[in-house]
Amino acid sequence: MRRSLRLYRWLLRLYPAGFRDRYGSPLQQQFRDEYADVQDRRDLLRLWARTLADIARSAPRQFASEIAQDARFAMRLWRRRPVQPLFAIIALALAIGASAGAFSVVNALLLRSLPFAASERLAQLHMFGPPRNGFHEWRQQSAYLADAAMYDSLEVNVEAGGQAARMRLTETSWNFFTLLGSRPASGRAFVAGEDDPGRGDVTVIAHGAWQRLFGNDPRAVGSIVRVNGTPLTIVGIAPPDFDYPARTELWTPTTFDYQRIPKTGSVVMWTSIGRLKPQLTWAQARHAFETEAAASVQVVGNVSNAASSKFICLHLRSRRTFAIRNE
C-alpha cells in the first residue's frame, strides 16, 4: 500500500500545481479507498490500469482548463486597463524582433558555415601578398599552406543570352574552386594551365545569373558570354549558394593576365587565400606567415606592408575562436 501510494503521490505531479493543491488530499484519499478494495494481484493491476488511464485523461484537461481560466482572467484585466497590456505587447514585439535580428546576424556570421569544404582551415593573406610571377611555385613550396589561390574582383559589362547586364567578375588563379572545395553544379571548374597568360577564355557563371540570363537552360554550358567585349566560353555553373567573393556572378582564370579583360579606371586589388597544412595549428601557421612577411620586407623594402600584414581566418566563427585562444 505504502509503495503504491507513494507512486500515486508522485504521479499527481502531472496535474497543474493549483489543482494538485486543491484536490491532492481527496485524490489520495480516493486512491486509498480504492486500494482498500484490492483483493489480489489482478485487482491491483486493474487498479493501476484504471488510475493511469484516469491520469492520462484528466491531467491534460486540467491544464487546458487552467490555461483557459488564466486567459479569461488576463482578458478581463486587459479590458479594465488597456494601456498597460499595450505597452507590454509593444515591448514584447520589440524584444522578439531584436532577438530575431541579432540571431540572424550571429547565425549568418558565426554559426553557419561558409559553403566551402573545411572552411575553418581557410586563411586570407592580408596586405602581404605572394609574388604574382611564380605564384604557383610559391604556393607549392609554402611551409604552412597546403594550397593557395589568388583573385581580384571588378564590375564588368556582360552580354549573354541576348541580354546585357552589369555583373561582378572575379579573376582567379585556375585552382580557385579546387582550393575552396566547391564543385560546379554543372560543367566543370578551371583546370591547370588555364590561368596562363593568353589562354583565359573560359568562365564559370553563378547559379542565379545562369537562371536569370539563360532561364535554367543547361545548354548555357558551352555558350559564349562577352565580358567588357571579350568573348568567354561558359564551362561550368556554380553551386546555388556559391557567390564568393562579394556576390560574384562570373569567374575567369585571368588573374595573371591583367590585359585579358579590358578594364576602365578601376584599381584592382589582388587577394590571396590559402588552406592550412594538415596538423598545423593556426598559431604555427600565423608565425610562419609573419616570418615570411618580414623576410619579404627586407627584400622588397616595403615597411608599411609588412607592418600591417595579417593572416586572417576566412571563417568568422573560427576567427573568433582563434582570437579567444590567443588572448
Partner: protein, 120 residues
Amino acid sequence: MPKTKHSAIEDLIPLPPAVFHILLSLLDGERHGYALKREIATRTDGKLTLGAGVLYGSISKMLAQGFIEESDDRPDPHLDDERRRYYRITALGRRVVQAEAARMRELVQLASSKLGSQPA
C-alpha cells in the same frame, strides 16, 4: 459568487455525462468524492466509472460554475474520515440538472417518434 450562476440555464446544457450523474447523486443529499464514484458506478451498472482525476476535475468545474458547493457539515467522526470533503447541490445545480433531464426527455421522445414510424 461565480458569474455563471446568473447565466441562462440553456447556455449551461448539455452537460457532460459525469457532471449530470454527479448532480443526480447529489439530489439525494450530500456526498463525498468516493461515495459519488461508487453510486454512479452502481447506478450505471459499471458503465460509467469515474477515476479520481476525472471526478475531481468535474467537481472543480462544477464548483466554479456554482452547480455545487462544499459542505461544512461533517458526519460523526466515528462513521467517516473527517479529512473527506463533502459536496451538496445548489439551487442552480438543481435547475440545471432538471433542464438537462427535460432536454434528454425531449430527445428520447423525438427519437421514439421517428424510430417508431419505421418498420421493424
